[in-house]
């Protein structure tokens, strides 16, 4: 059984996706806390199924500068995972990892971009491994790509790469809290439609 359109998902399917988002993001927060060696609390993530066109609005407008780390998923499912961090999140992470207090997010050095790529890789990896063990699926990840640019120009990439069928994406907004402040980052799961069916089947949910 497979679906033709994300709009065919019912409330139960969306609940299941939300739960996956919760578990995946929880794992990612733990990894982040370990990497930064400090307490990181995670607020309950907001999970939405949204139009690709609306995501940049949710992130402060199409020209908002962000850093995005993207991996391609293959194996039992095919899709893209993207981790998007705003300027504040980026600065906090680079401050903790490299000790540079005033990184310029739009002009990252090679060292900074490599550090961010590794953070994204670990966070996406812990998210993906949570999904893969829940659904009992083998999911491989490509080497991550990291780019700093306008959020709008980065977000259309998964839409275009996944072809005409992926109008909607699973958008997880995570608020992480450290001792001083709340830092927001976003995790996006963009499965192909076939893969969404595989994922649901793996979780024992009929479509």
């Amino acid at each position: 059984m497979s679906i033709k359109d994300f709009s065919q998902l019912n409330d139960m399917h969306i609940d299941v996706l939300r739960e996956i988002g919760n578990i995946g993001a929880g794992n990612a927060a733990t990894s982040l806390a370990n990497m930064l060696n400090r307490q990181i609390e995670m607020r309950t993530p907001v999970v939405r199924i949204m139009d690709i066109q609306d995501v940049d609005k949710a992130m402060g407008g199409p020209e908002t500068p962000v850093v995005a780390i993207l991996v391609e998923l293959f194996g039992d499912i095919h899709g893209i995972m993207m981790f998007v961090a705003g300027q504040k999140f980026t600065k906090t992470m680079l401050g903790s990892l490299l000790g540079c207090e005033d990184a310029d997010c739009m002009h990252l050095t090679e060292m900074q971009s490599s550090a961010l790529s590794e953070i994204g890789n670990i966070m996406i990896g812990s998210y993906v491994s949570a999904i893969s063990s829940l659904a009992n699926l083998k999911i491989n990840m490509s080497v991550p790509g990291v780019t700093a640019d306008m959020v709008g120009s980065l977000l259309t990439v998964p839409a275009a790469e996944m072809g005409a069928d992926a109008d909607k994406i699973i958008f997880v907004e995570d608020d992480f809290e450290n001792e001083q402040d709340v830092i927001t980052a976003n995790m996006m799961l963009i499965p192909s439609l076939d893969s969404l069916s595989t994922l649901m089947n793996g979780l024992g949910i009929a479509l």
Binding site: Q53, E72, S142, V143, P144, M150, T156, A160
Partner: protein, 161 residues
């Protein structure tokens, strides 16, 4: 500017002078600016994908290069433009992520640019300026007063075509 029209992803707009069009943050998408200098009518399209999927027909003609551009030309002709006078300026089609994988990931920008060029050639519309490819996002302003296209980016500043 008297009249600013925002063109979103997979949208297309046509209007006459003194309208200014803007489309934000083109990544692998391509922005196509068409202009008739005599009639002072311009059009801006923002396409996401190269070719209309004839096997899964849908309503979204403006999403694809090969269906959006003919529609845009048709609209302009309705407003009194003459095909042989229309010229094109294009921007976008970047490769935003460089990831190491076996698949063809990341070539959609180049495919979009190719499809835009082929479609314009079939319509016999000449490309007079382009700012495509490379690896950064672009915001495009297009002025119907004189057909100027201004391309802005976060890292590379602003260029006028």
């Amino acid at each position: 500017m008297n009249n600013l029209i925002v063109v979103g992803i997979a949208e297309m707009q046509v209007a006459e002078s003194p309208t200014c069009f803007v489309t934000y943050a083109l990544g692998s998408c391509v922005g196509i600016c068409l202009y008739d200098p005599v009639r002072k009518v311009g059009g801006l399209g923002h396409i996401l994908l190269p070719n209309y999927p004839h096997e899964h027909p849908n309503e979204k003609l403006h999403r694809y290069a090969d269906t959006c551009i003919p529609e845009m030309v048709k609209e302009m002709e309705k407003m009194g433009c003459v095909r042989s006078r229309i010229t094109a300026k294009i921007a976008g089609g970047a490769k935003m992520f460089n990831i190491a994988s076996d698949s063809a990931f990341g070539n959609i920008g180049a495919r979009n640019v190719d499809a835009v060029k082929t479609t314009l050639q079939n319509l016999q519309v000449r490309i007079v300026a382009q700012d495509t490819g490379l690896n950064y996002g672009r915001t495009v302003f297009f002025y119907t007063e004189d057909g100027t296209m201004v391309v802005k980016s976060c890292t590379m500043g602003s260029k006028t075509f």
